[in-house]
Amino acid sequence: MKLNINGKAVEVNADPDMPLLWALRDILGLTGTKFGCGAGFCGACTVQLDGEPVRGCQTPVSAVGTAKITTIEGLSASAWGRKLQDAWVALDVPQCGYCQAGQLLAAEALLRSTPKPTDADIDAAMSGNLCRCATYTRIRAAIKQAAAA
């Protein structure tokens, strides 16, 4: 089947039931998308479909259709994405960093729809993404810094 990933058409030979997470990681070698729980709790596998954050582990490849997939490897194609990446680096958001791909894709979707988010907006948009190291206060600050950039 054909997928559109980070602006490129990609041919993928995957079982239709295979979750997008595993097609990305184990077939296409796009390992920036992370496996965390396999059950939709943690958000480490967050990617965007047509700009909306979804759980890669809960999305069969057959359900993607013609939707445009954005992964962490394609985040810098977005102006918001670049601002967020810069803020994440400058404020030293990551500890282990494993969740941050998912956090950034959720944050980019937030800023695209809500360029000046309140704390409540950030809570609502980001509470699906776990950070085991608990870098939440920095994620919040970095979203605000990117919004102001």
């Binding site: 990446q85 030293d92 282990c96 870098t135 920095r138």
Partner: protein
């Protein structure tokens, strides 16, 4: 010394002096491994970027940034222009490569200063010769040698420098700390850009040519061997290349038996696993049950401790003569580590050589376990220390390294083993649970004259399980004239292990909660009571032991946290300030929590103020604050949601649905301040954790008058 080693100039640690380590530099042999290699950590090529080795495992504590910063400071390199290169596991060359015990900084800080200073001294020596000027007239700045108006990059002298004998690191001059420019400055993690671009490889991202993806199915009741399994049916499933039974190693904590399934992708292996049917042999762990343990603990309470641990004075007489006696039972459960990167390891076995790509906090015990289990020589095992997606102590154990190596050998193919989250939860090396039956006696002035603790935890054969024990000198031993500590050990087979601030993560809750009760019983302010309890500044315990602490340093952080929070200020109804302190891992921490409790019992943590003292120098303030904030929020996980329970021998929880982690909307602001008295530099991964849970319990008590003594907290009792 091997040929490989002798080709390089290297530093090694030997006898300790003055709290640090004496460092020797080997004489520079003829023909260095690479032109410009000045020692094991510093390579200065003729042109291009200076390379600094990051030799400790990175689990998110920032050590691949902070230790190279220390080297770069003394080397006087341009931090913006250096390249940080992670090393292999090689304890002979690099010394202790462990992310654990908050020990990397205390172990390596002074050493790494001398590593950098020694390399700089060699460059200066070579430059003095090349320019024909006195050594004393040379200066350095940002990777350049300076003589008057003349400047040249280090690289110009590096080849000559690498042929010089290395200086005696014990005598090499280091900077006066007041001249530090890099140490103490805000430096984002060196891998941040790769992380935010999806380019950072973690253990789970390792890929080898011809590699298969493995799932490994074990019994939830540990140490149950496979009796039979539908291997042929599994082998016939789509995408599956192989499946086989892995026999167990007989020794405790040896390889657990199970069924390995090897497939084209992780998902194919996982899907086939869901069709797996296994009959297990009976396990010696089948008796394990939380309900049964609770009963055993209650029975143990009625008897004297089976294992006396420590006694000073005469507790019985002092208690009898006390003006007031207070008793309470504190309790906490098994808790899991839950590193976000699931347990994984990639291995390739070629004959008797083993290559490992592992997210590990502690590679050397893994090397030994692989050597023993596979029967291969230690030196034939190479370990790539991959960036770790969270450790929290789980990856101090290397069980997965042995599994991957064994499965790869049996498969005859390189293998990436990936555990599911369910595997992670049900096969964790848990933080052991425990009970503390406490009694204290106060005199008429409200001073603590007697302290008695019957501690109940888990183990085997009369010995505590890993991370279940308590030390005889644990706080408040040495602080109370009449002190007694004894234990009873309940039987446990399931694996236990170190979790962030092991022991302390529970004992801090117990002691600081109980001390709060004593303060209220004495009619004293909880802060003032603690100040009085700590008493005058002095060292408690053997000054040469890691367990000894300075009550003056403790009081200073206590007072600082109280001042930051505005201790004593008036709060709205059903709101409270709670305070706690704890010493662990050489660090002094105190914190105040402001919490409010709604009528329906919902607890909101409004803010947390933390004061810490980890010695005279914070190497990287931004990383340090990150560690403290993370530790504090991690401790809130244990307050709110985390408990692992057993039934029929196995863990009952499965995934984050059963063990929720704190989320963005639940994370309070945390203000962190460091005191920097003139003591050696120590570590930060752990000591901010233990004082959090008691401070929350104490705040809730102030808000509601209800005392919470059991983790995780049952907030339903707080309804108005």
């Amino acid at each position: 010394m091997t040929i490989e080693l002798s080709r390089r100039s290297f530093l090694f640690a030997s006898a300790a002096i003055g709290g640090g380590l004496y460092l020797g530099l080997s004489p520079q042999p003829v023909g260095a491994a690479e032109a410009g290699q000045l020692n094991a950590w510093v390579v200065i090529p003729p042109t291009g970027r200076i390379r600094i080795m990051a030799s400790n495992p990175e689990v998110g504590q920032g050590i691949r940034t902070s230790l190279p910063m220390v080297i770069a400071e003394e080397l006087d390199a341009d931090w913006a222009a250096v390249e940080i290169v992670p090393t292999m596991a090689d304890a002979k060359l690099y010394g202790r490569q462990v992310a654990g015990g908050s020990q990397a900084m205390p172990t390596h800080y002074e050493n790494m200063r001398r590593v950098g200073a020694a390399a700089r001294a060699m460059i200066l020596q070579a430059a003095a010769t090349a320019w024909g000027v006195p050594l004393a007239e040379l200066q350095t700045d940002k990777g350049q040698v300076i003589h008057g108006q003349r400047r040249a990059p280090y690289g110009q002298f590096a080849a000559a420098a690498s042929a010089l004998p290395a200086p005696d690191a014990a005598k090499v001059a280091v900077k006066d700390p007041k001249n530090f420019r890099l140490i103490g400055s805000f430096q984002p993690g060196v891998n941040n850009r790769a992380i935010v671009s999806g380019k950072q490889d973690y253990g789970i991202d390792a890929v080898l040519p011809g590699m298969l993806h493995a799932a490994f199915h074990k019994s939830g009741v540990q140490r149950a061997a496979v009796k039979s399994a539908n291997i042929d049916a599994i082998k016939a499933m789509p995408g599956v290349r192989d499946a086989f039974i892995v026999p167990a190693s007989p020794e405790y904590e040896g390889l657990l038996g199970g069924v390995a399934i090897l497939a084209d992708t992780t998902w194919h292996a996982s899907r086939a696993r869901s069709a797996l049917k296994v009959e297990w042999e009976e396990s010696p762990a089948a008796f394990q049950s939380s309900a049964a343990w609770a009963k055993m603990a209650a029975e143990a309470k009625a008897k004297p401790p089976a294992l006396p641990i420590h006694s000073t004075g005469d507790v019985t007489t002092a208690m009898a003569g006390a003006a007031k006696r207070i008793s309470a039972t504190y309790e906490y459960p098994f808790i899991p580590h839950l590193p976000l990167e699931p347990i994984n390891c990639t291995a390739r076995v070629t004959g008797d050589r083993v290559e490992i790509w592992a997210p590990t906090q502690n590679p050397e015990p893994g090397r030994q376990a692989v050597a023993k289990t596979l029967g291969v020589p230690l030196e034939n095992i190479s370990i790539h220390m991959m960036r770790v997606g969270g450790g929290f102590g789980r990856r101090l154990q290397n069980d997965y390294m042995v599994e991957a190596a064994m499965i790869a050998r049996m498969a005859g193919r390189p293998v990436k083993l990936t555990w599911t989250r369910e595997d992670d939860v049900t096969q964790d090396f848990l933080r052991p649970g425990g009970w503390h039956h406490l009694e204290a006696g106060l005199d008429t002035a409200g001073r603590v004259v007697a302290w008695d603790n019957h501690f109940i935890s888990y183990g085997r054969d009369g010995k505590f399980a890993r991370a279940a024990g308590i030390a005889p000198n644990d706080f408040p031993a040495g602080m109370v004239d009449h002190f007694r500590l004894g234990a009873t050990i309940l039987p446990l087979i399931h694996t236990t292990g170190f979790l962030r601030a092991p022991g302390n993560n529970a004992f801090g809750f117990v002691t600081q909660g109980f001390i709060d009760e004593l303060a209220h019983a004495a009619g004293a302010d909880p802060l003032q009571f603690r100040r009085d309890f700590l008493g005058p500044a002095r060292i408690i315990g053997d000054p040469n032991s890691r367990a000894s602490y300075n009550t003056g340093r403790m009081r200073a952080v206590l007072d600082k946290a109280a001042a930051m929070a505005g201790w004593g200020r008036k709060l709205p109804a059903r709101s409270g300030l709670g305070i706690g302190f704890h010493f662990s891992h050489l660090g002094y921490f105190a914190n105040v929590i402001e919490a409010s409790v709604s009528k329906d019992g919902a607890v909101t943590v409004k803010k947390i103020w933390v004061a810490g003292d980890v010695g005279r120098q914070i190497v990287n303030p931004v990383g340090a604050i990150n560690q403290v904030q993370g530790s504090v929020l991690d401790a809130l996980n244990a307050c709110r949601n985390h408990a692992v329970t057993f039934a029929d021998g196995a863990i009952e929880q499965r995934n984050f649905g059963d063990l929720p982690l704190l989320r963005m909307d639940e994370a309070p602001p945390i203000e962190v301040s460091f005191l920097t008295p003139d003591y050696p530099v120590t570590g930060l991964g752990e000591p901010a954790y233990p004082a959090v849970a008691p401070a929350l319990a104490n705040a809730i008590f102030q808000a509601t008058g209800k005392r919470l003594r059991t983790l995780p907290f049952d907030f339903s009792v707080l309804k108005a």
